[in-house]
Symmetry: C2
Subunit: 138 residues, 2 copies
């Protein structure tokens, strides 16, 4: 056991870039990982798990400011669990809203694509100069 990962491996496994890993450390999003004798970062399994979770928050659009707040609460231990849960619950409801918003835009896109299909059908049926007269809605 006691597996560790180089920064390159951590980047691979988390999907973040090496630069981003160092950047996250600088801004206090991740605790500085252990270092080997040469001063190089050694990420633990726990570090990796945290990085992976961070990517979920980032993917869902949580601003770094809030991720950092969450990270700092986490650092303060179990006493902050209620607050952390609250942050996640609020964030989750934002994500749900975002999904609903995307869904409704998707409906518009479907409608538009269908419109184009219809337009093309009519264009194909109309031979010659009169084709130019076919116009589109919106």
């Amino acid at each position: 056991m006691l597996v560790t990962y180089s920064i390159a491996q951590a980047a691979d496994l988390s999907g973040l870039s090496i630069d981003t890993l160092r950047y996250y450390e600088r801004i206090g999003l991740v605790e500085p990982p252990a270092r080997d004798s040469g001063g190089r970062r050694n990420y633990s399994e726990a570090d990796l798990n945290w990085l992976v979770f961070l990517t979920k928050l980032r993917t869902t659009g949580m601003p770094i400011r809030l991720m950092r707040e969450y990270a700092q609460l986490r650092h303060r231990g179990v006493a902050t669990a209620v607050r952390r849960r609250q942050i996640l619950i609020e964030h989750r409801s934002g994500v749900r809203e975002r999904i609903a918003e995307l869904q409704s835009c998707l409906d518009v896109l479907d409608y538009k694509v269908d419109n184009y299909a219809e337009l093309e059908r009519r264009l194909a049926a109309t031979v010659g100069p009169s084709a130019v007269q076919i116009e589109e809605a919106s």
Copy 2:
């Protein structure tokens, strides 16, 4: 008929800011609208429809560069319909993927929130110093 809207009304109705409307015009995302005798913009119903559609594209994360390409194709008329439809189809599939991605992050969030609930339950059941020993996963 022949309704027109001031820039403030267009902003209200489209959800974009006045500055953004002028910005979109500058970068060629929207055709310059008509002007009144005093040089003020008069947005037509058609302009408004286009703005509203643009907000759907923006909301779904289409980069401005691509929105502009779409706008320019649109400007070139019906001959570009096939290409525009293709852009929308590709974009739509991106949006679908994005929704799926958010959904899967949502699962993680659900899991985490449940974890916190469980943690809190255990904390509540454990009175005194031993509570400190309860630790969290991840």
